[in-house]
C-alpha cells in the first residue's frame, strides 16, 4: 500500500479551521519562524479515512483472529469499556484542575475512579496500597525497583544486587539496571523451577530484592515460592512480583499472601484493556506497609465528609514518576471491567484461562516437545526442537499459522527453552476456536515430518512474504524522505 505521503496532491485540503474570528495581529519576528516547511501530505478527509481504514484491514487483532500470544493475555476487550472513556465528563477533564483552588471539587468523579480502582486492586492482590501512576508494565517495574531502593536507602544501606531467574522477561533486568542495581541471574534447574541451591548461594545482605513472576514464564506455579520469599526476607531483601501472569491467580492466590512486598500489574493484560497495537497500557504498583511511605506523589485520599482529594504531602516519597495520576483512560476501562466481572467473574476468568491452556497442553503434547510435563496454568510452553531437526523452526511454525488465519503464539521466549512456543489462549476463547488452532498445529507437526518446505516457505497467503530484516538493520530506512 502506498504511503500517505505518496498520495499527496498540492492544494488539497482535509480538515480546515475556517476563518479566525479575531483580527490578524503582528506576526512573530522572522528569527522565531520556521523556514523549512514540514512536508506533510495534503489530502482530503476521505483520502485520510480511506488510507487508514485500509491499513486497519492489514492487521490481525483479537477482534478478528485468535491471538494466543503467551505472556500478553490477549483476552477480549469489552466494548462497553471503550464507550465509557468517551463520556465527556471523563475525556475532557484537564489534569491540572485539581491544582486550582477549589479545583479538586471539579474532578470528584475521576478521583473516585482512581480511589476505588486502588481499593479493588488491593483486595485482588492482597497488597495495602497502590500507585496508579505507572504508564506500562515496564514502567511499573522501574517504579517498583525505585521503591525498593528508597526503602533500603531509608534503612541506611542501598544494597547492590537484584536477583532474577534466567526465565524472566527482559524488562525485569533492564528495569533493575536503570534503577542502578546489578543483576544476578539464577538458572532454572532441571525440574523447571528456579535453582534453589544457586539462589541460596547468591542471596545475602547485599541483595536488595528478588524479582519473580508467578506463575513463572513457563506457565507453572513454583511450589517453593513461599520458601523463596521467606529466605529473602531473612536477609532483609524484598520480594518483587511481576504481575504479567496474574490472570491465572485471580481468586486462587494473592501475591501479598505469599509474601511479596511490591507488585506490578498489567491492566492491558489481566484487566482486559486493549493492547492498542503496542500501547497505551498501565502498570499500577501495589505495596505492603513497608513501602507505603515511599509511593510516588500524589495519592488520592478520602476525606471524612466522603469527598476525594489529592495528597501531596509525602516526605519520603520517591517523587513523580508520571506527569499526573497515570493513564487515566486505561485505568477507567480496567475499573469498569472489574465492576462488571465482580468476584465470581474474576475467579471464572482464572479458571477458564487455566482450563483452556491445559486443554492445549493435553492435545499437543504428543506432537511437540514439552520441556516440563506438569499441569500448566494460564499458558503452556512447548519446544519445537523435534520439528527443528527437520529444519522447521519456531519462526516457521509462526509464519504457517499466520497463513491459516491465526496470530502465532509467543516464540523464542522464555530464553531458556530452545525453539520456545508459548501458548496463552485466555478465557474468552471458545473450545471451537482452540480446536481449530490445535488442528493446524497438528498439521504443522505432520508437515514438519513429511514436507518441511510447506512450512518454511510460509507465509504465502499474506500481502507480503518474509521480510529482509537484515537489510532493515544494516540500511535503516526509518522515515519517509520528500
Amino acid at each position: 500500500m502506498k504511503l500517505i505521503f505518496e498520495k499527496h496532491k498540492e492544494g488539497r485540503r482535509g480538515f480546515s479551521y475556517g476563518e479566525c474570528d479575531v483580527a490578524s495581529p503582528k506576526p512573530l519576528a522572522e528569527k522565531y519562524i520556521r523556514k523549512n516547511q514540514a512536508h506533510l501530505a495534503s489530502l482530503s478527509e476521505l483520502d485520510v479515512v480511506r488510507h487508514f481504514t485500509n491499513l486497519s484491514r492489514f492487521n490481525y487483532s483479537v477482534d478478528t483472529n485468535f491471538y494466543p500470544l503467551g505472556s500478553c493475555t490477549m483476552k477480549y476487550n469489552p466494548k462497553f469499556c471503550e464507550q465509557i472513556t468517551s463520556l465527556e465528563g471523563f475525556s475532557q477533564l484537564h489534569p491540572l484542575l485539581p491544582q486550582l483552588s477549589g479545583g479538586g471539587m471539579l474532578a470528584q468523579g475521576s478521583l473516585e475512579v482512581l480511589y476505588e480502582s486502588e481499593k479493588l486492586l488491593c483486595e485482588i492482590t492482597g497488597m495495602h496500597a497502590f500507585t496508579m501512576q505507572p504508564m506500562a508494565g515496564a514502567h511499573g517495574e522501574l517504579t517498583g525497583v525505585m521503591l525498593i531502593a528508597a526503602y533500603h536507602k531509608n534503612k541506611g544501606g542501598r544494597r547492590k544486587y537484584i536477583i532474577v531467574p534466567d526465565s524472566s522477561h527482559g524488562t525485569n533486568p533492564s528495569s533493575a539496571a536503570i534503577a542502578g542495581y546489578e543483576v544476578i541471574v539464577i538458572p532454572t534447574a532441571s525440574d523447571g523451577y528456579m535453582d534453589l541451591v544457586e539462589y541460596k548461594k547468591h542471596l545475602n545482605n547485599e541483595t536488595a530484592a528478588v524479582m519473580l513472576t508467578c506463575p513463572d514464564t513457563l506457565g507453572i506455579f513454583n511450589p517453593h515460592i513461599k520458601e523463596i520469599a521467606d529466605l529473602a526476607h531473612k536477609v532483609g531483601a524484598l520480594m518483587y512480583y511481576d504481575g504479567a501472569n496474574l490472570n491465572a491467580m485471580l481468586g486462587k492466590c494473592r501475591p501479598g499472601d505469599i509474601g511479596f512486598d511490591v507488585v506490578h500489574l498489567n491492566l492491558h493484560k489481566t484487566f482486559a484493556t486493549p493492547h492498542g497495537g503496542g500501547g497505551p497500557g498501565a502498570g499500577p504498583v501495589g505495596v505492603n506497609e513497608k513501602l507505603i511511605e515511599f509511593l510516588p506523589i500524589s495519592r488520592v485520599v478520602r476525606r471524612s465528609d466522603g469527598t476525594f482529594a489529592l495528597d501531596y504531602q509525602k516526605q519520603k516519597s520517591i517523587g513523580y514518576i508520571a506527569p499526573f495520576y497515570g493513564n487515566f483512560g486505561v485505568i477507567l476501562k480496567a475499573y469498569a471491567y472489574m465492576l462488571v466481572l465482580g468476584k465470581d467473574g474474576l475467579i471464572s476468568a482464572a479458571e477458564i484461562a487455566v482450563l483452556n491452556a491445559n486443554y492445549c497442553l493435553a492435545k499437543l503434547k504428543k506432537y511437540y516437545d514439552l520441556p516440563f510435563d506438569k499441569t500448566c496454568m494460564h499458558e503452556c510452553v512447548f519446544s519445537a526442537a523435534r520439528q527443528a531437526k527437520n529444519g522447521v523452526h519456531a519462526i516457521d511454525i509462526a509464519k504457517y499459522l499466520i497463513d491459516q488465519g491465526f496470530h502465532p503464539p509467543t516464540i523464542y521466549f522464555p530464553l531458556i527453552i530452545k525453539e520456545a512456543l508459548m501458548i496463552e489462549p485466555t478465557e474468552t476463547e471458545s473450545k471451537e476456536t482452540i480446536d481449530a488452532f490445535i488442528k493446524v498445529m497438528i498439521e504443522i507437526a505432520r508437515l514438519a515430518e513429511e514436507d518441511p518446505s510447506a512450512v518454511t516457505n510460509a507465509p504465502l497467503k499474506m500481502p507480503i512474504k518474509r521480510l529482509d530484516e537484515v537489510r532493515a538493520a544494516r540500511q535503516p530506512d526509518l522515515s519517509w524522505k520528500p
Binding site: Y412, E469, V470, A472, A473, R474
Partner: protein
C-alpha cells in the same frame, strides 16, 4: 569450518594474528556462522586500553547482540572502519577483510593462554557434537 593455521584462538571464538608487537583481532568462522547475518558492530576507539578476556566489542545480528572479548591485552592502534558500512564483511571474510581492530600487544606472554589452530579445531568439534 575454516580455521587458519597461523592464528591463535579463544574459547569465545575470537582469533588473533600476531605480527611482531601488533595483533589483529576478529571473530572466527564458527562465530560468524552462529550469529547469522551481522547487521552492526560497535568497536572500541583508537587509543583505548583493552585487557585479555575483557570487553572489546559488540556484534549484532537481527535478533541478538553478542559481546566480543580481547584475546590479548593492549592499546588499540587501528579500527576497521569498513565494517561500519559493510558489517557483512565479517560473515564473508572473518579472518581477512572482516578483522575488527589491531592493537599494540602489552604482554606477549599472554599468548600462552590462547589455543593454537589444532586445539581450537578440537574444541569446536567438541561443541558441535
Amino acid at each position: 569450518m575454516n580455521i587458519p593455521k597461523n592464528l591463535f584462538y579463544t574459547k569465545d571464538h575470537e582469533w588473533a594474528r600476531i605480527e611482531g608487537k601488533t595483533a589483529y583481532i576478529g571473530i572466527t568462522d564458527y562465530a560468524q556462522h552462529s550469529l547469522g547475518d551481522i547487521t552492526f558492530i560497535e568497536l572500541p576507539k583508537i587509543g583505548e586500553e583493552l585487557k585479555q578476556s575483557g570487553y572489546c566489542a559488540t556484534v549484532e545480528s537481527v535478533k541478538a547482540a553478542s559481546e566480543v572479548y580481547a584475546p590479548l591485552s593492549g592499546k588499540v592502534l587501528s579500527v576497521n572502519t569498513e565494517l561500519a558500512a559493510h558489517p557483512e564483511l565479517i560473515n564473508q571474510s572473518a579472518y581477512e577483510k572482516g578483522y575488527f581492530i589491531s592493537l599494540e600487544i602489552s604482554d606477549v606472554a599472554e599468548k600462552t593462554k590462547l589455543m593454537d589452530a589444532a586445539s581450537y579445531e578440537r574444541y569446536v568439534e567438541g561443541l558441535t557434537k
